[in-house]
Structures are given as structure tokens and as C-alpha cells.
Symmetry: none
Subunit: 412 residues, 2 copies
Amino acid sequence: MAEAEIIAVGSELLTADKIDTNSLWLTAELNGIGIEVVRKIIVGDERTRLSDSVRAAAGRSAIVIVTGGLGPTEDDVTRDAVAAALGRQLIFSEQVSEAIRERFRSFGRKMAEVNKRQAFVIEGAEVLANPRGTAPGQWLDTGTAVIALLPGPPRELMPLFTEKCIPRLRAKFASRVIRTRFFRATGIGEADLDQAIAPVYTRYRNLATTILASHGDLQIHLRAQSDTEAEADRLLDEVGGQILPLLGDKVYSRNGDPLEAVIGAVLRERGQTLTVAESCTGGLLAARITSIPGSSDYFRGGFVTYANETKTSLLGVPADLIAEHTAVSDPAARAMAEGAKRCTRADYALSITGYAGPDGGTAENPVGTVFLGLATPAATDARRLRLPGDRERIRTFTVQYALDMLRHALGI
Amino acid sequence: MAEAEIIAVGSELLTADKIDTNSLWLTAELNGIGIEVVRKIIVGDERTRLSDSVRAAAGRSAIVIVTGGLGPTEDDVTRDAVAAALGRQLIFSEQVSEAIRERFRSFGRKMAEVNKRQAFVIEGAEVLANPRGTAPGQWLDTGTAVIALLPGPPRELMPLFTEKCIPRLRAKFASRVIRTRFFRATGIGEADLDQAIAPVYTRYRNLATTILASHGDLQIHLRAQSDTEAEADRLLDEVGGQILPLLGDKVYSRNGDPLEAVIGAVLRERGQTLTVAESCTGGLLAARITSIPGSSDYFRGGFVTYANETKTSLLGVPADLIAEHTAVSDPAARAMAEGAKRCTRADYALSITGYAGPDGGTAENPVGTVFLGLATPAATDARRLRLPGDRERIRTFTVQYALDMLRHALGI
């Protein structure tokens, strides 16, 4: 499989505010014709550094895409730097100069002298005419690597790449197909998950596996390369068929949908409804449920009962229950869930009460202790968590555990 | 000025969906102590490529920051690759292993065998203890370059960098003093804000100004470089003294505190309380208010009244009011705020009702229309917003506008 490096040029991309997003789009396009991106480099408008980066990239990878730095000003050094990297000359092109002049003329303007810089072409390069800007692209084949110089603005870059580079790349690099599969799991640690499935995925040469963990949620991306779609899909079926049984009910999604979407789809299908009562998560659970468009079909709404008094006044949690057990307790979680279910006449009610810190907690229930409650049409259940980390981590993990408790109750 | 390269490790960062954002934050931190970022590199979980990149970076720049790839799994190759790049050994550290084991023990879990991978330390490296995760950082000084190995998750990376790396970098490289000032504003666009204050800040040579916009919130960072703290502070006072009057009551924070913290501090000081009733934001407003530790001092709790029926049953919004005006209307927003205030006996109640999309809306009130209500001890007010963008953008901007409405009512 052919390998590409993307070099983005521009000092603004080395500040704290700006990021190179062209490479995401380029990556999708390259992957689409079976080319893998193996390195991305961002350099400033600095001739020597850029030249070094291009030389190194062209020395080790078959494809080098350079974006940006083709403008008319002093700090546009890409043409110069790439020529220097390859030990080639820059040659002034009357034809390109005339095309730029004509472009200005068509807007009723005169070409500025500085724009002549854009008419220099690297010895041996093909010019890629750019109808959307003054900077043409350039295409070079050194024998060991192809190098494309492309303008930075997305509206110039994208059509130039799609129309001029993709056909050239496809012709040169017999393309293979890449197909992907995307599972999600929860209720298992990243290391444990990897330990369980690594013996499977490491056996396959044409498979790339990525495991991403975020707030208790695990994403498993499988990417198979093959000559045909059918063969790539067969490989993914084979690997998935071995991995999924190893993870059992930890896997909740086989298409990448997040937990709140999977739960929502089941509730909608069954015509059932949900409510929540949150203390320490303060609305995060409701916010996550309602991040899904159309969640009003099954989400009745919820309560953020942050003060003990509101647990009593809004949810009917008896004040003496709180006095006896505290608000962070198994009985309080149950009473909150039952109260929320009763008030909204929902089929399911999730409740959360805990100490998110940094202050609060007791000797028995220190910061990080959270009780989840779940009232279903059949029964009420509660669960105690002990979560490490800071306030934000405790809150986001709690939401994940609460949704997972509901998932299991729904039999998903 | 010392020069740094940042290497982000992770095959997911070479896909079409994921981007390295850690480097933005790192860049701001490095710039803050007078260190410039001259190159950013993104490589996959691939030992040889990473090793080559580290060797090249350490050969040309004084500072190399490597993020990610310190996890416990097969595809976490950073320790290995950096050791290989420098021709050093990896040494198993009983002490680090015990610290990881202890971390698992404190959660009532057993360390998996694979986590031992994280206990290997590069010969000559200092271990940077990571209280927020299992992967410790590592700090190496080769004589010509310092190399920091840091975990990828931002919540682990950030404190480790701030607490362990910044002091080491400052001691080794910083020559001049850098002092900063951090204002926050809202209710004004990024371009308008910049246009207003640029005539001031562009006049100063030793001042770097960064404006960051996020969901209607604007951060203005001023960074002054000087030989002495006093001189840098004097410069910041001078610039701040000119900028603040230009922005008037748009500025709500002069120390970087977010809007919800500024409001909370005032409510606490006055002994007043707050409640919320949310429809389309589904808990996001409550979640933001309760992100502040100790918010239970003034936040009574809130309602997520997502279905019309719950607006009536929980908040007492008359069903015929909804029938006449719809739930997304000025009267509904007022009734929600008043209902929430009454139910919780809070001093202030904020309400939100709107169409976050992608579906819903009417000809008169299309997707993006949101009504905010605010009930205070004195009166009830409502406001109509028309917000562009997708569901997530509409929800987050709405929360910002709601908090800003309360800020003005509180006279902040």
C-alpha cells in the first residue's frame, strides 16, 4: 500500500489558535483510493526548515503533499524550499505569468509585480492550473517519490486535489480498497479490552486496529485493506466474529453509535419513556441524552436536585430518609429514581447522587462515591460506584455508568 | 529564543476524523515562557517512524515534546521508540510498577499484567509522576536537547506539563520574564472585539495578544515580555487600562474566571440562590453552573422539562398557554422561569425554550429560535434569540446567552 506524508506550511499553524484541518480532508481522499497517511508535518514559513522536511519526506515516502506557502508574498517559501530540497532550479514561466495576468484582467484589475513570484515553476514540474486562485499547483515525479505543491485555502486546494492529483495518484499507485468497522464498548478498561482482543487482531497483517478510550467509553476501529471491497469486508467479518464474543455484553454498538443513541433507539422502538434525577452530575446526564436529535420522543425531562431540600420538595425523597442515610446513599438514590418516575410517569428513571469533590464526602463515602438508582416498570435497583479522579472526571464517568446501568436493564 | 518541536503520537491522529489539539495548548504554554514552536509532527503508533522523527527533532531543536503512546497496550510504542532513537536501554522500575499497582488498588482493582509496560523507564530519564493516570511522564536531557514524554489525554497531559515541565524548561531556557493578563468578555463578536482593541495592542512591541473565541465566550490573553516583573506588569496595566474602557460591560472577568464562576461568586456573597428550567438545552445550563465546586451554596437545582407535558406538570406552565402560544414563546419562557422560581423558592430563575434542530420549528420561529426567561426578586423578563448553526452550537450558545442575561440582571 502506498504511503503518503502531508506537509502543511504556514507560521500561523504553529500558533496556539490555528490548526491544520486541510489534512483531514486530504486523508479521507487519500484513504479513499487506498493510500495511507503515515506522517503529518507542520512547519512555518521558513525556507530551510521546510526544505529539510520535504527532503526527508521524499526520501522515505512515495507521496508527499505540500499545502500552503504558494502565495505572492515574501513569506511564501514553498516553491523555493521544494526546489532547494531536490537540488532543482526555479524557472520563470511566461505562460503561468500570463494566466495570472489574465485572471486579474478578468476582475478588471492589474496584476501586482509581486504576483510574478507565483509564475516560477520547479524544473521538471507539471503545472496544475488553479481556476480558483492565482497560485497554480505543481506536480513533480522524482522517480522515487511524487510531490504535489498545492495552495492552502481549502476552496482552491480541494478541487485541485480532486481533479488533478487523484487521477494521477490512482494511475501511478495501483490502488487497494480500505474498509472500516467501528464497535463501541463500555464497562471494561482499555488495557483489559486490549488484552482480550489483541491475540486476535495481531494475527492479521492487512488489518489496522485502533482502540480509543474516553470517559469510560471504548471505541474499536478496525481498518482492512484489500484488493476488493468484498475481500476487505470478509476479513472484517472474520475478525469481528472473533472479537465480539470475547467482549460479550460489553459491546453496545456495532456501527459506532454512542450509548445515548443506542438507548434512545430502543426506547423509541418500544414506545417507552425515560426521566432522570441528578445531583452531583448537575444536568450532564440529561444534556447527554438530549444531545440526540429527536430525544423528545422518549425523554420526558428531568430534575437537577442539587440541594437536599429540592430532593425532598421536587422528588418527594423523605427528609427523614436523608437525615438517617444522608443524601448520598443507596436509599436516597432509590427514592430519587422512584420520585422522578412518579412525577413524570416515565417508564424508566435514572438517578445519580454522589460526591464529585473536591470537597464533601464522609469517612465511609469519600469524594468519588456515587450511588446510581434505576426505577423500571418492574423494580427499583441501586448501585454504588467508587470513582477516582477530579470533579470533571467523576461527573463524566458517572454519566457513562448510569447510561450503562440502563442499557443492561433494557437488555441491549 | 529557544525552539521546540512537538511530536504527537497516535494512529488515530492520522485518520480523517481526529486532529491533534494538545499541541495548541502546549504552544500557548511554551510561548508563555518565551519558547517558540518551530515544527509539529504527527506519527502513528509505529516504532520505526516515531524513532526516526524523535532522532531528527532532537538533532536540530533544543526541546522535543512527545505526547501520547504511553498507554499499556501493544500499540503504545513511545517509550520504546524514544529509547531506540537515543540508543538507550529501557529499564524496568519497581518503584513505578508499585505506584501503578497502588493506583489500581486504591480503586479496588488489580493491575493487569500489560500495565507493567508502563513501568519501563528510559535509561537516564527522570520519572514525572502522573497522579491522574497510570502512565508516568519521562524527562530526558541529552546534553543537546531535552525530551519530554507525556501522556496523550489532556487531563493528564496538562497538569503534568504545567507542574513538572514548565519549571524545568524555565530553569533551563527562560531568560526574560513573561507576565500575562487574562480578560474574558461576552456579547460581542470576535472580529468586532479585535477591531475595537487592535489599535491599542498593535502599538506595543513587547506585547503578544491572543483572542480566543469559543461558543460566544471571548478570551483576551495579554503577554508582556520584559527584563523585570515590575516592568512587565506596568506594561500590562497600561494596555489593560486602555482596552477595558473600549469594551465596557462586555468584559465580565479580569482574572480569567469563566462566566458561571463569576455569577456564582456574586450569588454566594449576596446569599442568594438560583434555579433553572431548560427545554432545548436539556441540562447543559445546569451542568455548566454545577461544574463549579461548591455551587450547591447557591444553586438550588433545576428542571429539564423536555416534553410539553412536563412543563405543565413540573413547572405549572398552563396547558392553554402552551396551546395558545406554543412552548417556544415569550409567555412560555416567562411561565417556566416563574414556575421554577416558585417550586424551588430560589431568588433567580433562568429558563430556556427553543428549537435546537435539526427538526422542529415553525415559519415564524424556525430552528435556532430560542426564548430565554429570567425571573428575579423584582420582575420577570424574556428575550428572543435567533441563533445560526447546528444543534450543538445552538445549545452551547444559548447557555452562554442565558448566563449573560443573568449576569446583567445581577449588575456584574
